[in-house]
Symmetry: C2
Subunit: 471 residues, 2 copies
Amino acid sequence: MTADLIGRLRQVVGPHGVIGDRDGMAGYLTDWRNAYRGTAAAVVRPGDTDEVARVVALCHGAGVAVVPQGGNTGLCGGAVPDSSGRQVVLSLTRLRRIRDLDLANQTITVEAGTVLRTVQEAAAAAGQLFPLSLGAEGSCTIGGNLATNAGGTAVLRYGTMRDLTLGLEVVLPDGRIWHGLRGLRKDNTGYDLKQLFIGAEGTLGVITAAVLKLFPAVRSRATAWLALPSPQAAVDLIGVLRDLAGDRLTGFEVMSRQSVEFVLRHATGARDPFDERHPWYALVELCDSLPLAGLDAVLESALGEAFERDLVVDAVVAASPAQATALWALREGISEAQNHEGPSLKHDVTVPVSRIAAFVAGTDRALSEALPGIRIVTYGHVGDGNLHYNLSKPVGGDDAEFRVRAADLARVIYDSTYGFGGSISAEHGIGQSKRESLADYKDSLDLQLMRGLKQVFDPHGLMNPGKILPG
Amino acid sequence: MTADLIGRLRQVVGPHGVIGDRDGMAGYLTDWRNAYRGTAAAVVRPGDTDEVARVVALCHGAGVAVVPQGGNTGLCGGAVPDSSGRQVVLSLTRLRRIRDLDLANQTITVEAGTVLRTVQEAAAAAGQLFPLSLGAEGSCTIGGNLATNAGGTAVLRYGTMRDLTLGLEVVLPDGRIWHGLRGLRKDNTGYDLKQLFIGAEGTLGVITAAVLKLFPAVRSRATAWLALPSPQAAVDLIGVLRDLAGDRLTGFEVMSRQSVEFVLRHATGARDPFDERHPWYALVELCDSLPLAGLDAVLESALGEAFERDLVVDAVVAASPAQATALWALREGISEAQNHEGPSLKHDVTVPVSRIAAFVAGTDRALSEALPGIRIVTYGHVGDGNLHYNLSKPVGGDDAEFRVRAADLARVIYDSTYGFGGSISAEHGIGQSKRESLADYKDSLDLQLMRGLKQVFDPHGLMNPGKILPG
């Protein structure tokens, strides 16, 4: 039956649209970190929405599960098939047309396989901004950004992918096309169905295209690297910046000394902007669409107030775009630098901004009790309450011994997150990796309602099964 | 059985919490415009979420339908019970506590019955802004704002109620409490259930509280009243303002001459800012959180560009807050002024901003063909593509004859809206009034999925039945 299905799929997408050999499939069967591996009956690469619909309908008819995949840059295994060898990987990367750019409506309509950077560049070429920005932007796709409700470094000002989306086109699990590709800023005609597909990680249908919001381009920018005494100072500093810079505050990243130390040790050309060591750092960015917006003066007055209130101990303001890039490199190099220190146990949590300081204190204490000497690489988008709480083994520790502790150290972080009213997945999603944790940290009522919704869209459980919902 | 139920309800909410007499119930059984009337077995006024849950559970157990109601300011009959006399109206107006105001998290947690203006004032008292603003703000409640995903005059910059909401607490149709009252800016742990309750007009559950976003207070403002040659000039002008003022553009309202003429004729003290008549007007507002933000210079440069490109024919810039208020009164007086000209047939539609001009031309033509001499009162939030396309009878026409045409004139507008890829309800919702129209203008697949969702949350159809979903 599988052979018959594959023959029919070939008829839909052409001979080159179906990959069935081991070598050709390899890149689609594991994630980029090689943390999850699966097998598949085939990898199918349709060229447009109609082909996606026909492929999904054929799989549905044959009772074969479909695993949608974009740029395959996820961190939770959400786009990797299981090990049965019976699933079909549906790669969206051939759907990469920019269908429309409507300046008057401030929208861009793109297909799911379009790379994020391509969308940023298309917007910029039209003098506009598409603000979503994250580490994988050179290879992640819009479909994956939507499926995981991606966040990144500009959420503070522009929101997550959900906030940037006006309309969607979706192929439902039975192959029908849901036409929600509208560029309306207001539409109150019943339940907002598109919201369900955003963040559903491909478990309710395959997103094939989206209408996204554009914003005025950024024409001036001020960037500062600050030394802070504590996480509470970071929280208070956000208040000062909001008060004195308002909407101009677009970025607020915080890093522990441990995080920065790894970058200074391993990243080529990285150097500490300060002579002395400080326990915490913040990277602050103000932006404006006006070319002469006086941002330096705004930043200076905010920093003056911050120094006066002892929220900031030292500061460097970028004097050029190159200096700003160098400061951002200290932030963006953390994840890679940490890999040089042995296995990285990564966590991506949010708590209310007001609880950050107590949360960090409590979590660090609990982690150090659980594994004395553990190195805690805390950094992230504190303006959104979002911390990447990553862990490295104690100096001289054994890799394998550390890896064995992964589940119980995650539990320490998640218990603390839960206790502070937070979320165990801020922006990476659930995928396979946190699926069973969801059973521990979501109310059973939430899970029951989620299962009910899954049943409405995918009664046969054929769309990305084994992801999000606990078994 | 009803008597027994009412006795039990009295036990839950106390003797004063249940209103059963005709006079006491009267205000709850019709909307403020007196356009919809119903009857009810009782009006129940619980005092907190727990009481709401117990009331809903009792009604559920007795198979009695519940109609949630907030400030009863809706325009579509969504909060009015049917005529059976067997439904229970659940008034949320006693749930009006502000539970929390978290400055560091920039959130306010309020109960559903809190009046919108109370929330605005609480935010302002803390030096913050809660930006939702609309005509009924002195009496509408947060629960109703959420149930209809309210819009208003600041959507251009701050979004709709959906965009302003981080968390919800909801009593489900069977009386269980769904605890989603979190103040997290990022949370990707499965399907975003709260999105379903927002805009569901009480058909999936009763919203009892919400965590809402706060923004930096506005400390400077520039307001201008402009004469425009055409709707296309309005659309192009938005582009100029976005380009030269960026985020500072918070309001962009457009009014036809007919709309303004009614205000000048009927509103006390209203006067035309210009000596000559112009076919279209725009009210533009720039805002900033900085006290000395140079908004006048920004506005001046934008208007200079607009005059040069013939987008603006004449302009008045408010020289004082009082003048700004007077200009806004011209916009805000339209709805009331129109009532002096006989029955108002109101419509609330959106199209993509880029299609506004063609949409207005085509719709006006079709309306004038359908009823020669009809007076078209077009105005609204053009920055969001949202027009209130209201109609008055021809001069000297008969009220009753005009009212009879309501359905077919609505169809003219909705057909045109649909043809331009728009929505027949931008910000007022569906309620009873547009319920059957939804069957004509929504894909059957949308309706099927919506019915599936309704079934998950409310399998017995007891929560605000007869609203939104066509029969």
